[in-house]
Amino acid sequence: MVAFYCISRDVLPFPLELPEAIAKATTHRQLEAISHMGQELLFTLHFVLIPFENNMHPLSLPQQLQLTNHSASNKRHRFKRSMRLRLSESSMNLSLEGVGSYSPPPSVEQPVGSERLQKDGTNPQRRVHAGSGIEVAALERRPAPSLAELDSSSSFSSMDEDSDSDSDPESMVLTQRRIYQRPPLVRSRGRGGLHRMSEAFVCFFAPDKRLTRLVEELSRDRRSIFGGMVQDFLLEQREVLKSLASSSPRVTSVQLLQGLRLFLSQAKCCLLDSGELEPPIETLTGVPDCREVERVRKKLVLMQRTHSPIDKVLLLLQVCKCVHKAMGCLHGEKMSWDDFLPSLSYVIVECNRPHVLIEVEYMMELLETSWLGGEGGYYLTSVYASLCLIQSLDRDQPFSGCLTAEAQEALKEWSCRRSREAQRQKESQQNQVGTKTLRRTTERLEASCVGLCCTQRSPVLCRTAGTLAFCQVMCVFFGHTMLRSSDG
C-alpha cells in the first residue's frame, strides 16, 4: 500500500501532500498504520486537495502546497494563507496520530461510542465522498441542515447546506480535520486558533451565511450545550438507522422524521436560550462587510496623503457614503441615523487607522468655517462622535460616559474659537465689496494655502517648489484681501 502511494505521488497532480504524510512516518508501525488506512487516506487527500484547486483563492495550488512545507506561525496575520497552512499541517500530523492510534480503517459499522466515530457522524460529506456508508451518511446529513434554519433569512434545504459547504473548501477541510483526525486534546488546544480563523474567513460571506457557519461550528463542539445536544442526537440516530436497515425496524420512517422535527425545534430553542451563539457584530447589524471596510481603509490612507482640508473632508464624505451604501444594501430599506453611528464606529475600528484622530483634528481646526456648517461639517462631526465613542469604550466605560468633561470642554473651546474666527472673517468680508465668486475663490485659496503649509511633512519639498507655490498662492490670496480692504 505504501508503495502504491509512493508511486501515485508522481501520478497524482498533487504529489507534495501525500509523501509528506508518509515521509513523516518514521517507524514501521506508522507505515503499517498508513497502509491500513488504505483507500480512506487516499480519499482524504483528494478531499484536501481538490477543493483547493477549485476555489477562488489567488494563490495557485503549487503555492499553497509549498506553503505547507513552512512554518505557519509567522504568517498568521495573513489569515487566509495561514489558515490553509495550518490546516494542511495539522492534517498531516494529525492524520499520522490518528493512524498510529487507530489502525483499522474506520467504518460506519464500528461500535458506536468511540470518540472517533462519533465525530465522524457530524461529517457526512466525508462519508459520502469516501464512498462508504452512503446510505447512513445521507440520513446523518439531516440534522446539520436543520441548523441552517436558525439562520435569520434563509431556509436552506439539507442539499443547499451541503453544496454550500462544498463550495467552501476551508470550512470543509477544517471540518474534516477537526473531526476526523484530531484527538480530543489537540482539538481543544487548537480551538482558539480555529475559532479565530473561522471568524476571519467568516467575513467573506454574507451575514446569513456567517451565522450559519457559526452555528455549524458550535454544533461540532461537544463542550457546548448545543454541540452536545447535536452530537448525542447524531449518536442516537445512528442506532435508529441501523435498526431501520435491519429486517425488523424499531421505528417507522415517519416516526424517525417526527423525531427529527422535534429535535430541530429543541435545538433551535436550545441555541437561542443557551446564549452560546455569540455571532460577531457583522452578522447582527447591517454593517459593512470586509470589502467595504477595505474600501474605506483605502480612502483613509488616501486622506492621509492629501493636505488640503477640503480634499480630506471630501474623502471623509466618501467614507461616510460607503458606510451608508453598505448599510442600505444590506437592509434594502430605509435606514435611519440611529444605525449609522454604530456602523461608522465599527468601520473605523475595523480600519484600524489611528491617524484618523489627527485627520479629524486637522479638519476641525483648518476647515473654512462655512464648510463646518455644511454636509462636510456634519459628517466630520459624526466621525468625531464615533471617535469619542470608540475612545470611551477603550476606557472601559459605559456609553453614558462617552463624552468626558475634558472632551466637552475642549469641544466648547473649539466651537468658540472657530465661531469667533468665522465672525471676524465675516466682518472683514462684509466690509469688502466681494462678489460671491471672489469669496469662493478666496476660500478655495485658503484651503490650498493650508494644504501647502502642511507639506511640512516633507520639508525639502516645502522649501523648494512648495514654498514657491505657497508664496504665489499667498500673494494672490492676500492680494485679494488687501485689494478689497482698500476698497472698503
Binding site: 441615523w337 453611528l341 463646518l372 463624552l403 469641544l411
Partner: protein, 220 residues
C-alpha cells in the same frame, strides 16, 4: 465690530442650523425627510442625504438656508449630543404621542439644551405620529403646558400623513430670524459680543433692520 454690510445687496440670507433630537423610533428622520424631500418611507435612501438635509426657504422676502442635523436617538448615544447641537440656532425635540417615555426624554433634552445653550436656541417640541391618535399616551394639555413653561413651542405632526410639518419648520424659521435680528440689534448697540460670536452659523450679508448701516463700514 461690523454687523451689517454695505447696503448694495438686495436681500439677506440667513443660515440656520437646526438639530433634531429625540428618542429612537419617534420619527425624527421621517419628519425631516418628509419636509425636505416630501418622501415617506422611501426605500432607497442610500445617499448621504439621509442624515444631513438642507432646505432653502424664502420668508417675507428673506432667503433662509436651513441645515438640519439628524442625531442618533438611542439613549446610549445621548452623551454625544453636545457634539451635534453645538452652535445650533434651533432644536426640534421629537416625541411619539403614543410613547410616554419618549416625552420624558424630550424633557431631559430641554433641560440640557437650556443649560448648555441658554435661551438663544429656539426650541420646538413636536408630538409626532398623530395618525395614531387613538393610541395616544401623552395628553395634549400636558405637552402644551410643559412646552410653554420652558419657552418652547409645541406642534403636532404626522410624517406619515404629512401633517403639521410645513407649519413647524416655517414657524421655527420665523422665530430663528427674530432671534437673529434681535441679536443683530444688540450687537449693533455694541452690547454683546460673546453671545453672537458663539454662533457658527449666522447672518451672511447685509442690512440688518434696526442697525445703522454706517456704523459698521467704518470699522473695516
Amino acid at each position: 465690530m461690523a454687523a451689517g454690510g454695505a447696503g448694495g445687496n438686495s436681500g439677506r440670507t440667513y443660515s440656520f442650523k437646526v438639530v433634531l433630537l429625540g428618542e429612537g423610533c419617534v420619527g425624527k428622520t421621517s419628519l425631516v425627510l418628509r419636509y425636505c424631500e416630501n418622501k415617506f418611507n422611501d426605500k432607497h435612501i442610500t445617499t448621504l442625504q439621509a442624515s444631513f438635509l438642507t432646505k432653502k426657504l424664502n420668508i417675507t422676502g428673506k432667503r433662509v438656508n436651513l441645515a438640519i442635523w439628524d442625531t442618533a436617538g438611542q439613549e446610549r448615544f445621548h452623551a454625544l449630543g453636545p457634539i451635534y447641537y453645538r452652535d445650533s440656532n434651533g432644536a426640534i425635540l421629537v416625541y411619539d404621542i403614543t410613547d410616554e417615555d419618549s416625552f420624558q426624554k424630550v424633557k431631559n433634552w430641554v433641560k440640557e439644551l437650556r443649560k448648555m445653550l441658554g435661551n438663544e436656541i429656539c426650541l420646538c417640541i413636536v408630538g409626532n405620529k398623530i395618525d395614531l391618535d387613538k393610541d395616544r399616551h401623552v395628553s395634549v394639555e400636558e405637552a402644551e403646558s410643559y412646552s410653554e413653561s420652558v419657552g418652547a413651542k409645541h406642534y403636532h405632526t404626522s410624517a406619515k400623513l404629512n401633517k403639521g410639518i410645513e407649519e413647524l419648520f416655517l414657524d421655527l424659521c420665523k422665530r430663528m430670524m427674530e432671534t437673529a435680528q434681535a441679536e443683530e440689534r444688540l450687537k449693533g448697540n455694541g452690547a454683546s459680543q460673546s453671545a453672537s460670536s458663539r454662533r457658527g452659523v449666522q447672518i451672511v450679508d447685509d442690512e440688518p433692520q434696526a442697525t445703522p448701516a454706517g456704523g459698521c463700514c467704518s470699522s473695516g
